[in-house]
Amino acid sequence: MAIFIDSDTKLVVQGITGRDGSFHTTEMMEYGTQVVAGVTPGKGGQTFEGPDGASVPIFNTMDEAVAETGANTSVIYVPPAFAAGAIMEAADSGVDLVVAITEGIPVLDMARAHAFARDQGVRVLGPNCPGMISPGTSKVGILPAQIVEEGPVGVVSRSGTLTYEAVFALTNLGLGQTTCVGIGGDPLIGTNFIDCLEAFEADPDTEAIVMIGEIGGTDEQEAAAYVEEHVSKPVVGFIAGQTAPPGRQMGHAGAIISGSAGTAEEKMKAFEDHGIAVAKRPVDIAGLIQERLA
């Protein structure tokens, strides 16, 4: 078992003919993800040549792609100017889940796109996220497949490479993962910590959860309160950005301390107050999980 994606995931790649889209489509297909269709307006009728002679039909619209292939998930590698439109097209097409990798989508566009997806009852992951991977079954996005392993730990994180660090440490200790989810570093994201915690709590195969946050916003604080009330499984947390100065954006558009709000201290305190073990260093995450699964 896993959350959000698994062996039933039938994926459409929006922007499949672009540089990133084509590269990661091959990677996903190599991992075993069922990539059933690609969409690039104006390239309908062509095919994408994947690894091992596999080929993927390309459609002009999501509507056609879903009608022809029964796809249930979409991943978006579309340039920022068109990405919010692509998310809305996906949300309108009948898929249940839209994973938006694109970085740099205008926030005002995303406010509309998130509202639209909510109205359609469609889950959006991201944008500006690395996607997710359910080891052994499916990978949607850009997370490196070679560092993951099947196992009992659910991982949810706002950052990319820091997640790799944590996952790699888990794998090295023999602690595999049910699903690793990168929720993204943008100010407005479609799936937050609480959504993932709820799903991991409901997933019978997940035995412990790693939650990796960073400065900016209050998602981690709310997630901590949620954990205390609704999550029975052990949760280990980490917050990046203790040394970040206020008012400066640290790479991610959402990683910024506004006034005195959104500091790492505040978030770590919230974790501790609500019974979440806080790792001081990334390397400690795996150890704390190991203790709790012993």
Binding site: H24, E27, P80, A81, G104, I105, P106, V107, L108, M110, A111, R112, H114, A115, D119, I142, L143, P144, Q146, I147, S157, R158, S159, G160, T161, L162, T163, Y164, E165, F168, G185, P187, L188, I212, E214, I215, G217, T218, D219, F238, A240, G241, Q242, T243, A244, P245, R248, Q249, M250, G251, H252, A253, G254, A255, G259, A264, K280, R281, P282, V283
Partner: protein, 377 residues
Amino acid sequence: MDIHEYQAKELFRGAGIPVPPGEIATTPDEAEEIAGRYGGMVVVKAQVHTGGRGKAGGVKLAKDAAEARAHAEAILGMDIKGLTVEKVLVTPGEDIATEAYVGVLMDRKKQAATFMVSPEGGVDIEAVAEENPEAIRKLTVDPRYGLLPHQAYWLANFLYEDKALARQATKIIGQLYEAFQANGCSMAEINPLITTPDGELKAIDAKVSIDDSELFRLPDVAAMRDTSDEPAAEIKAREAGLSYVKLDGDVGCCVNGAGLAMATMDLVKYYGGEPANFLDIGGSSNPDKVVSALEIITADPSVKSILFNIFGGITRCDDVANGLVEATSRIDIDLPIVIRLTGTNEEEALQILEDNGFSAYSSMDDVVEKAVELAKA
């Protein structure tokens, strides 16, 4: 991107908001000339990307052109929170009857633009929110409908009992929302929105932040970027596609990924050191980016050691190692460099680095500890 008060006022004027006139001076002569043309009292205001200009002495009332000149002389070149004042705004003094606050920003939790208004204007709204929250009225704008007329009036009605003032404020609130949308703002505020003794509303201060992701489609707004008070290193980093923030320490950090970069800085502190910077080189192994990163780090005189922390995922470690070798061959660096490379093709990468005389580590903790030690040496 933050823009200056005078630029924010231009955007507001474009949306129809009543903003008093004002001109920019970069010399005392200019300030005197402008003040002379306005006649009477003027205000001389430092244009820097920070709050608290008033407290720092960057905003002064002048009774005539000569005094305006004197104030400009004092303010131009002044240091406010580390930023040098290069420009002042000269604007006629206004008779103020009341001061209110009107602001709108993107609320992360509501995922929508949210207004805050308060009849207690001219002060720090965060302080009002803390000390007197009932003096603030908030409204979230549903992006599907935009700001509705009754919502603008509901906000205005909280500010002014007087019918005519409430009507003017309703209009201004609508115009502020328009300016916010049209210019890709993440924040736009009028503080204070004043009433004059004869019942007119005017926005006499303006503050706007633009969502960087909007700039590609808003060339006029993008052209408002003023790098004059921005550290050269940050300008260079932005141009090279890097994300760089200068800090106070001595361990130069170069990392792929923002989260990992922050975690690396935190680990430097954990091991008793102080990070000199945040620097995210992104997912690319392009040697040009590595060169730029090294140039930026080495240009900081306080840096004592350089730490690379790369987690190769999609990016192959051997590509990065080659980029690093090429980059260091292009520029002379006499600081110690320690490197951690792990993930895809790690073995090959470590071999390349060793062959070229670099210390290579596979653990983040080891490399950070070493960098701290070298910085202290």
